[in-house]
Each structure stands twice: as C-alpha cells, then as structure tokens.
C-alpha cells in the first residue's frame, strides 16, 4: 500500500465506495473503522435495519483486515495458528476461526477463506500482521496485508440473491453457505462468498478497488425493482446481536491489547469452545486450553433475552433480583423483529453453571430523569434470530 506524505490532512481514509455513500448520506453520521470513514447511519436506522431482515442491504466491508496467506506450508501454518480443525476445509470454502496466544487467550476471531490449494485469506476485526508473522517462523509461508487492495461489500437480506442475480451476477443458485465462487459482473471479475455477519441470507463480494463503483452501481441499478439500502454500523450492531455473533474488542478484550491481568478471555469463556479442537494435534495455546477444559469454566459470554422494553444499555447482572452481582452486559439491542430486548453479557459461573435466576439492573432516562429498573433475563444457547431462508440452496427467489 502506498501512503502519501500528506495523509495527515485527512484523519480518515475514504473507501473505494465512499463517493456513493457520501452521495446517499442524509445524516452525515460517520464512524471510524480501521482508519476509514464509514457510516453509522446513512439515512434512517429503521429502514436500514429492515432492509437486512426483509429486503436487501449493502454495507462496505473494505476496512475489515484481510490477510493473504500462501505457500507450501500454508495449511500447516494455519493448523498451528488456529484452534479449529481445518482438515475438512476445501478450496472454495470458508470457515469461522479463532486464534489464541500461548496462554490460551483469544487474540481475535475471523473467517478463513481457502482460495486454492495453498492460498488462503484470513479476515479479522483487529490488526493481526504482528501476530501472524511472529507465528510464521519456521513455516514456508508468506503473509501479506491485502486490506486496502480489495474492495469488499456485504449484500445481505432475504432478497439479496435476487438482487445480485438481477444485477448481472450469475451462478449463485448452487452457492451454499460458506461457499466461494469467482464470478463476473458486467464484464469484471467479482469473487462472491455466501458469508456474512447478519444472520440472514447474504453474500460478501470481493473485487479490485478499480471496479468498486461499477459493482455498487450494478447493484443499485436494480433499486427500482427491489428495495435496496446502504447500511451503517448501527444496523450491523443490531443484526449481529440478533444473530448471536460476538465482536472481539467490544464484547471481550483481545489478548494482545489487554493491559490488566485477567481481563483477557479464553475461547471457552467467550462461547467459542465449538471452534476449539483439542484433539486435532498441537496448536498455539493448546496446552493452556487443555488445562482449562479440565476445570470448571469461570465465566461465559451469555446471550440473554431481557424482559420488558426499556433500553438496557450498560447494566450489571445479578444472581436473582437484589442478589449477588455476577456479571455485566457487553452489548445490547432492541430487536424490532423479535420485539424483545437482547443482550450479550459476561457472567461468572458457579461450578461451571450459570446462576438459576439472572436479573439486570440498569438505569434509563425519561424526559431527562434517570430511573433504575430491574428486569429478569433468560439465557439462550441458540442465536436469537436464525430464519430458515438463510440457508436454503438455491435461495428463495423474489
């Protein structure tokens, strides 16, 4: 990536899609994501939210960190780096992964794309080149940042399949969840993966930054036929909580960035035990995780449905109303589709188990007056919202 000396004149970089976003933004409500300027809300939050759940949403993913990993030892390297058993991963497939430091604490999570035999793309929320290169010693593998060299767009929602097909991207019928295909869009190549962070039917599109605006325009050209909305981080936060997805650095601290001892988390503690395969052979952090598995887990990120409709915000969790404080809410949203308060909370376990009764105590404001409320919480193990149409292949046409 070539960075100009004058980069200081603009604190936030523009993604290849920025001009289109800027043209459509009525709110001018911008956020920072990995040094890029991205929207919180483009126009209207409720419309954008329902475009994910009932129509088609478009979100710029370019700022997401993307690393290209290739070489003879690419598989062996990733097998050592990641906690998950990768033996079933094949070219053209994607899998969800996490990686730990030597102490078995989560550094980050992400998606691993196998592009061909010895080439992979690892996408993550946080900056990982330092750890990826440190871990590469002794492996015949090259690791390179390609974050800024690929324009990425998430197209998600029940009509996303139909929208992309109408936009001229053909060949999605047999693309299964977690599949990847190299396709064409009006004469330029687009790689499409059936992946996302919304818990709905959806795709992620990857192309050269030079094609970014053409890709955007192709999609929005069918806007008359379909309801399509660009969305921002506020919508993403709502739908990812509904889908039960955690966000490293927000719901728990990433190990390498954690200052206070004990403030980092193991995969078991954040509910990622299902991507840890202790029997796959050695990997970084395994020894610590074997030891941890043998003990009762001390805490776990837990999905909660909170009674009532008052905004939960920042809250402590108690074992019983007026009981002992056992945890705290990390993220929360009102779910318009479930008409329920949802939360993900870090809760201390006793003998490896959640307390029987969980209550949230939180403050909320009405006409500038602060009140305190108690609300009972109900722990969930499954995603809050997981529609069947999400995984239908071929997807339902509209």
């Amino acid at each position: 990536m070539n960075i100009d000396h004058t980069h200081f004149r603009q604190a936030l970089q523009r993604t290849p899609f920025h001009d289109r976003y800027a043209a459509m933004s009525t709110t001018e409500h911008w956020a920072t994501w990995n040094t890029y300027k991205v929207p919180y809300v483009v126009d209207k939050l409720s419309t954008e939210y329902f475009s994910v759940r009932s129509g088609c949403s478009v979100m710029d993913l370019t700022p997401m960190e993307k690393y290209r990993i290739e070489g003879k030892d690419a598989f062996a390297y990733l097998d050592r780096l990641l906690t998950r058993d990768l033996s079933k991963l094949r070219p053209g497939r994607v899998t969800y992964v996490a990686w730990c430091n030597d102490d078995g604490k989560v550094i980050d999570d992400g998606t691993l794309f196998q592009l061909d035999e010895n080439t992979y793309r690892l996408c993550s929320q946080h900056h990982q080149l330092d750890w990826l290169l440190m871990s590469a010693a002794g492996f015949d593998v090259q690791v390179a940042v390609e974050t800024h060299d690929i324009a990425a767009l998430a197209v998600q929602g029940p009509t996303s399949y139909s929208v992309l097909t109408a936009a001229g991207i053909h060949g999605l019928d047999d693309l299964k969840p977690f599949g990847i295909k190299d396709l064409q869009c009006n004469g330029f190549p687009v790689t499409v993966s059936r992946t996302g962070y919304t818990g709905d039917l959806g795709y992620e599109l990857w192309t050269d930054p030079d094609n970014a605006l053409a890709l955007w325009d192709a999609i929005f050209a069918v806007r008359g036929q379909y309801d399509i909305h660009p969305i921002g981080l506020d919508t993403l936060e709502m739908v990812r909580i509904e889908a039960g997805f955690i966000m490293p650095g927000f719901d728990f601290n990433c190990a390498e960035a954690t200052v206070r001892n004990g403030y980092d988390r193991s995969p078991y503690e954040v509910g990622l035990g299902w991507v840890v395969h202790l029997d796959k052979g050695h990997f970084t952090g395994r020894n610590a995780l074997v030891a941890e598995k043998a003990r009762h887990a001390k805490r776990r990120l837990t999905k909660l449905v909170v009674d009532g409709n008052k905004p939960v915000g920042e809250a402590f969790i108690y074992a019983g109303k007026n009981g002992k404080q056992v945890g705290e809410v990390k993220c929360t949203t009102w779910s318009p589709i479930l008409k329920a308060n949802l939360a993900i909370a870090d809760i201390e376990l006793r003998n490896g188990k959640l307390p029987q009764s969980l209550w949230a105590r939180f403050d909320y404001q009405r006409e500038l007056k602060w009140n305190t409320a108690w609300a009972e919480c109900h722990a969930q193990t499954k995603p809050f919202y997981s529609p069947e149409h999400k995984s239908a292949t071929p997807p339902n046409p509209f």
Binding site: T6, H127, L129
Partner: protein, 539 residues
C-alpha cells in the same frame, strides 16, 4: 530586631522545594524557602535573557507533574495552564521523516507508511507500556517502603508493593523484570523492525542519562518519559503557558497564599546541627536562621557533601553520597528566532513542527553519540529534542518571532582540558549545524542562543554535574534505593532534616511528587494533618 523563628526551612526554590513548602504551609507551618539565585524556580523557570523572549531555559516540557498536586494546591487558579503537545517526529537522512501524530488514525497510517508490521505491533507495544505505566504510577505519590523494616507502615507499604506486583500474571512479572534491566534498543526490538521507528521511540530513554540506547537499564527511562499524562492522555507532553516558570510561579503563588515566604539571593552555606538534631541554617552571608525542620531540595550529593558539615553525616551516608551516580550528560540551547524556520522535508501545513523534532534516525547514530560522551567529548552527531513552543504560546516571543528550545544528548561534564566559553560555543555550533541540515533558513533566523553545558547547569542551577534528574534513574537508584538504601523515606541522617528533591523517590522530571511525598513524612513526624493528596486511582 529579633530574628523570626520558622517551623520549617526549605533549601532551594525548585519546583519540589516549592511543592514541599506549599504543603507544609497549607498544614499551618510557618515556612521559609531560601533560594540562592535572584529568581525562583530552580530548573523550572522562564527567563528573559534576550529582550522580548522568554526561555524555559532548563526543563522545557511538562507531562509528569502530578495532577493530584495541581488539584490539591489549586494551581489552575494560581495561573498554571498546560497545553498538550500534538506530535513528535524524527527527520531521516534520506529526506523522509517519521511522525508520531496524536490522532490515532493518522498515527497508524504513518506507522504503516514505514512498516505495516510495526503499525500492528504498536497495539501490543502500547498495551505493554500502559501496563508498566499503571504499575509505576501507583507508587509515585507514595513513600517507598523499607523492605528491611518491620514497622507496621513499612510492612503495609511493602505488602502494597507486592500486591501490585502480583496483580501481574507470571509471564508479566518476568517481562517486567526484564523491562527494568534491559536496554531500550533491545526492548523495542521485541516490537519493531523499522530503523527510524526504533530510533524515534528510543530517544526518550537516553534523555538526561549517562547511558546509551544499548545500555542495560535504559528501557525503564522510557517509562519515565511515557508515564506522564495531560488530562488522562498517557504519554502526552504539554507546554506550560508562559514557559516552565509558570509551574514554579503557580507553586510559589500557592505557597504565598498559605502564608509561606520565599527569599531569593539567600544561599545556604550550611545546615546547622546540634546533638544530632537540625537547628537551622547559615547563609553564605553569615546570617543564621533557626528552624526545627530543615528540608533540602538540593541533590543528595550536594546535600550531604556540601551543605552539611561532613562531621554531621554518618560515614555510610557520606560514602553513598560521594558515590551517588549523578553524571551530567546533557546540554541545552535556548534560541530566539526572527521567524518560523522552514523544514523542506515536511509537507505544507504539517503539524509535526508543533511537537518534538529529532534528527537522529538510527540506533547506531544514537549509540555513536553516546560513545563520544564516554570519551569526554560532546557528540559530534548529537541526539536533539527540538521544540518551538512559541507556535502555541504567544507569551514567549514577540508577534511573528519564535522561541526554540533544544535539549542535547550528549554533552560531557568536562571535556578534555575543561570547559571554556569557546568550547561551549563550539558545542552549540554542532547543534545549530545539525538543525540547519534540515532547516536551511534556521541560521539566518537565529537572533540569540543561550548555550548551556553541564558546567552552566551546575554553576547556575546547582545541579551536581548538571544532571537533570538529580541522579541517574537506574534500578540501583530507584524506589527504596533512592537516593540510598535506608534513606528513601525523605528523612536525613539527623533529626529534623529531610530531602525533597528529585534525588528522592520517584526521581526527576517536573513531577512535584518528591516534594509532596517529603511533606507527607514531615507532617507525620510533626503530628500535623496530612495536606498532601492521594494518587488518583485508575481502577
């Protein structure tokens, strides 16, 4: 006229002496501060040595000064304003530069411009440095425990120290011990690969020390420069509006408001002792002033080998004082400029001139600069910390004109054949030439330069060998070993005599903490209410 009796006399009106005196006066003591110079502030001063320009001619930036002291003495109402600096940078020899910007997005992109890997490693570096800062900061406003003592208070303080230490994980404890004993170059190489980035972040570790970037113990000095903050922005430095004299000025104003007194041009010749008790001081004028509490703001070496009669000092203390590591290694230039110098390497409107500017872009150059000092020469290619504070502060220079301050590492205590004014000017010329290499119009704009070598710092300010920290900040001279084992709790070897300068814990930098900590011990001994603040806790 009968001689007035004071409760306490503080020798030296440096920022720590003034801080100490202010807390004593706030507790109701009748306090007199005696200063040898005709101005107050010690090494924390703003001086008009060229008509219309004000120089912070010793200390020049402010970060470590404890906000708790600022708050407790109400220094804001006594006129103190610390404006944060927004950048630091290193010019490269190839025409490029590395900038450390305060905006995190710009900082990250600039790191990426030099090394993608280093940009990512900065996350780990920042977390690790923050961890050590948090640990150390908890001790700044506490009296170090005597680990050999069984007194309840020592046991309690030592238990507190151990508790803080054991809040770290096992690995972090090992890392912390390594951190205390490593060189800055080796420490940074655990994180960064880019030569300029390594040189840039190393610089802070050699400032004021008689050590090089590869000398064990320099990693800790980085912390000493990173643990300060301006309004919670850890590691940020600031300019005191009006120069560093604003810090001592506000302290003096607070002291006077509590009824304290300051007498300039009153150099103490000797601390008077009778029956192992301090009884007062004798000035060089011969005048004697009595007080039961005598506090020395002078460095430990000067205190015990000069202003105390050697007979009054136990042999152990005298021996330690004579061998106290207090090597001068720094020089300083204060410059009046006819306008703002230009730096062709920087794009137009670059904010990097607003912060620290450096011209040493490799670890090798930094080490060579140190090699010269070891041979009693000033560095032929010195490490300079160059700032132009008048860009922020209109009180320092006439409109359109500027004031520059250059801290220079290294400068010998005594070059071969001793210092002369000619040699001093030659030293200054090396620095000016280095700056002019990156700023072609710099020499044309130069109206006046005050050049200070360790000789001037010692003669004018009274710092032994011109050591800016009143003693090296090495592990053997920190915490309960500062200034020497058994004397880290601010009490001297005779009853009623105390130390409050940077020779005591937590050491140098314009922190005020030694002065406040010493006041706490004095008030305790006198059975007076404690007026000193507790540290602001982060957790």
């Amino acid at each position: 006229m009968t001689q007035k009796n004071y409760d306490a006399i503080v020798i030296g009106a440096g920022h720590n002496g003034l801080t100490n005196a202010a807390f004593l006066a706030k507790a109701g003591l009748d306090v007199l501060v005696l200063e040898k110079n005709d101005y107050t502030g010690g090494a924390t001063v703003s001086r008009e040595l060229y008509d219309g320009w004000k120089y912070s001619n010793c200390s020049y930036v402010c970060s470590l000064f404890r906000p708790e002291i600022y708050n407790a003495l109400d220094l804001g109402r006594h006129g103190l304003k610390v404006v944060p600096l927004t950048a630091s940078m290193t010019f490269k020899q190839d025409g490029d530069y590395f900038g450390s910007y305060s905006n995190p997005n710009i900082r990250r992109r600039e790191l990426m411009r030099h090394s993608q890997r280093d940009a990512d490693a900065a996350v780990r570096f920042d977390a690790d440095i923050m961890r050590w800062c948090r640990l150390i900061r908890g001790f700044l406003l506490r009296t170090p425990p005597d680990p050999g003592s069984f007194k309840p208070r020592d046991a309690f303080e030592f238990a507190y120290l151990l508790k803080k230490f054991y809040e770290l994980s096992e690995t972090q404890i090992y890392e912390f011990i390594r951190f205390f004993t490593m060189s800055i170059a080796e420490y940074l190489e655990n994180y960064f690969e880019n030569e300029t980035i390594l040189a840039h972040y190393s610089g802070g570790s050699i400032i004021g020390t008689g050590l090089g970037v590869y000398s064990p113990g320099t990693a800790y000095v980085l912390l000493h420069h990173a643990m300060g903050d301006v309004d919670g922005n850890v590691g940020a430095w600031g300019f005191a509006r009006g120069g560093m004299g604003a810090v001592s000025g506000s302290l003096a104003s607070a002291l006077l408001s509590y009824g304290g007194e300051i007498r300039n041009e009153s150099e103490v010749a000797q601390i008077l002792v009778s029956g192992n008790k301090a009884t007062g001081v004798r000035l060089t004028s011969g005048e004697e002033i009595t007080a039961k509490t005598i506090v020395s703001n002078l460095d430990a070496k000067r205190t015990f080998t000069t202003v105390m009669d050697e007979k009054d000092v136990p042999p152990y203390v005298l021996e330690r004082a004579r061998n106290f590591k207090i090597r001068g290694s720094s020089g300083k230039l204060n410059i009046a400029l006819d306008g703002m110098p230009t730096f062709p390497a920087l794009p137009k409107d670059s904010p990097l001139t607003l912060g620290h500017m450096h011209f040493t872009d490799t670890l090798t150059r930094l080490e060579r600069a140190y090699d010269d000092w070891k041979d009693d020469r000033w560095s032929a290619d010195p490490y300079c910390d160059f700032l132009i504070p008048s860009q922020y502060d209109p009180t320092l220079a006439p409109p359109g004109k500027h004031m520059a301050t250059v801290f220079v590492q290294y400068c010998p205590v005594e070059p071969d054949g001793g210092w002369s004014d000619v040699k001093r000017d030659q030293f200054g010329q090396v620095v000016i030439d280095q700056i002019a290499d990156y700023s072609p119009d710099f020499k044309d704009l130069l109206l006046h330069a005050e050049i200070r070598t360790p000789r001037e710092l010692e003669d004018e300010v009274g710092l032994t060998q011109g050591n800016i920290f009143q003693g090296e900040l090495t592990f053997d001279q920190l915490m309960f070993n500062r200034p020497f084992p058994g004397y880290a709790q601010y009490r001297g070897p005779v009853k009623g005599m105390y130390m409050c300068g940077s020779s005591t814990h937590p050491g140098g930098g314009v922190m005020g903490a030694p002065g406040a900590n010493a006041a706490r011990e004095i008030l305790r001994d006198l059975g007076k209410p404690d007026t000193t603040p507790e540290e602001f806790s982060d957790d």
